[in-house]
C-alpha cells in the first residue's frame, strides 16, 4: 500500500482480478505477497472447519465457517469465489441438515481446493518476483 514500486509489473493469473487487487493494495507487491502468505497460512484450518461442520451436520457452524473464509477471497483478488461463498452461505441459511446441501457442498469444496492451489501458485510467483527486485 505504499505505492513505492510503480515501475514493476507483475502478471497475475487470468483468474485473479488484478484490477481489484490493485484497488486494494496499489502495486505494493511485497504486501500482496504477505497477504497471499497469510491467507495460505490459515487456509487449511478454515477449510477444515467447513468440512468438520458439514460432516457433523452442524449447519450453524457450517454457516459461520463459510462466512469466515468468504472475505479471504476478496483479499486475494478472487471476488467471484467470494460471491460463490456468499451463495453457499445463503443456501446454508435455509438448510436444516447437511443432506439438504450435499451437491452444493461438493461443488464448493472443489472450488475452495482449486482456489487454494491458485493462491499458492501466485504466492510462489510473487515471492520470486519480489526477490528479484530486492
Amino acid at each position: 500500500m505504499n505505492g513505492a514500486n510503480f515501475s514493476k509489473k507483475f502478471i497475475f493469473n487470468e483468474n485473479i482480478d488484478s484490477d481489484y487487487l490493485y484497488s486494494l493494495y496499489e502495486d505494493d507487491y511485497q504486501y500482496i505477497e504477505e497477504i497471499f502468505q497469510t491467507t495460505l497460512a490459515h487456509f487449511n484450518e478454515d477449510l477444515n472447519s467447513i468440512k468438520v461442520a458439514y460432516q457433523t451436520n452442524n449447519i450453524s457452524e457450517l454457516k459461520k465457517a463459510i462466512h469466515k473464509i468468504k472475505p479471504t477471497f476478496g483479499f486475494v483478488g478472487l471476488p467471484l469465489v467470494q460471491n460463490i461463498c456468499k451463495e453457499f452461505e445463503d443456501i446454508c441459511q435455509k438448510a436444516t441438515s447437511s443432506n439438504d446441501l450435499s451437491s452444493e457442498y461438493q461443488q464448493i469444496v472443489v472450488t475452495l481446493a482449486e482456489s487454494k492451489e491458485l493462491i499458492a501458485s501466485e504466492y510462489n510467483k510473487l515471492k520470486e518476483f519480489n526477490s528479484n527486485f530486492l
Binding site: 484497488s23 486494494l24 497477504i35 497469510t38 490459515h42 462466512h67 469466515k68 468468504k70 476478496g74 483479499f75
Partner: protein, 231 residues
C-alpha cells in the same frame, strides 16, 4: 495526538490489512487485535480506546454482543462481509460500516466520519439519562442523576457528583449547555450549570447544593425560579 483503536477480527488477513490501513493513516494507534469478543471485552473494560474496528460474526459471541456489554461506548466502525448487518449498524449508532475487503480510500472515508463536529468536544454521548465525558484518558459515564453541577474552569469544566467526586474535562459551559439534558440541567450563571433536582435552597442570588454555594446571575434567576415547584 493519535486516536487509539482496537481491532476485533477473527480473520487474520483482514486484521493485518486493517493494521496496515491504520498505520498508513498516521492518525491511529492500534492498541491491540483480538480474535473473539471475550478477549476484546476483557481488554476494553480495563483500557479505554477512542475507536473500535469491529467484526460482527466471530466464534462465540458477536460484535453486537460486545457492544451490549461494553461499559463505555467508543466510536465504532463495523467491518464485516455481510451487508445485511447495515440495519443493526444503524441501530447501534456505529460511525460507519466497511464491507470486507475495502479499499484504503473507503477506509479513509470512514475515518473522515469520525472527525464530524459532534465528536470533537470530549462529550461522546448525550443519551437522555447520562453522558460520557473524556477524563484522565478514558471515557467515563456519568448518570444525570449523579451530577450535582458543572463549573467552568476556563477551557475546562468540572463535573461535581453526589459522591463528592470531581471530573475535569476539556470543554466549555457554553458548549455543554447545548449537549446536556435540558429537563434536568439549567444554566444559572455563565460559569455554572446545575442539576435542577438537586437544589437544597435558594437565598438571594445564590443557591445551595449539598453545601456548595453557587451564584445565580440576575439574567438567569427568573428561568431558575420558573423551573422550581414553588407552592
Amino acid at each position: 495526538m493519535k486516536w487509539t483503536c482496537v481491532i476485533v477480527e477473527d480473520l487474520q488477513v483482514a486484521a493485518d490489512y486493517l493494521v496496515k490501513c491504520c498505520e498508513k493513516s498516521a492518525v491511529l494507534q492500534v492498541k491491540g487485535h483480538f480474535i473473539n469478543v471475550e478477549e476484546a471485552l476483557d481488554y476494553l473494560n480495563k483500557n479505554s480506546v477512542d475507536i473500535l474496528f469491529l467484526d460482527v460474526e466471530m466464534p462465540g459471541a458477536t460484535g453486537f454482543d460486545l457492544l451490549d456489554q461494553l461499559a463505555y461506548y467508543p466510536k465504532v466502525i463495523l467491518t464485516t462481509s455481510k451487508s445485511e448487518y447495515a440495519y443493526n449498524a444503524f441501530e447501534y449508532n456505529v460511525t460507519d460500516f466497511l464491507k470486507k475487503p475495502f479499499t484504503y480510500q473507503r477506509f479513509q472515508e470512514a475515518l473522515n466520519k469520525l472527525t464530524a463536529p459532534a465528536g470533537d468536544n470530549n462529550i461522546t454521548s448525550t443519551a437522555t439519562d447520562h453522558i460520557f465525558i473524556k477524563c484522565d484518558g478514558k471515557l467515563v459515564r456519568l448518570n444525570n442523576d449523579d451530577i450535582l453541577f458543572i463549573e467552568s474552569m476556563g477551557d475546562y469544566v468540572k463535573f461535581v457528583t453526589a459522591d463528592s467526586r470531581k471530573y475535569i474535562t476539556h470543554n466549555t459551559i457554553k458548549n455543554l449547555e447545548e449537549k446536556v439534558n435540558r429537563q434536568t440541567f439549567i444554566k444559572v450563571h455563565r460559569s455554572y450549570i446545575i442539576n435542577i433536582n438537586k437544589i437544597d435552597d435558594i437565598r438571594e442570588n445564590d443557591l445551595f447544593i449539598k453545601g456548595n454555594e453557587i451564584p445565580v446571575s440576575k439574567a438567569h434567576k427568573p428561568d431558575v425560579l420558573k423551573r422550581l415547584n414553588i407552592i
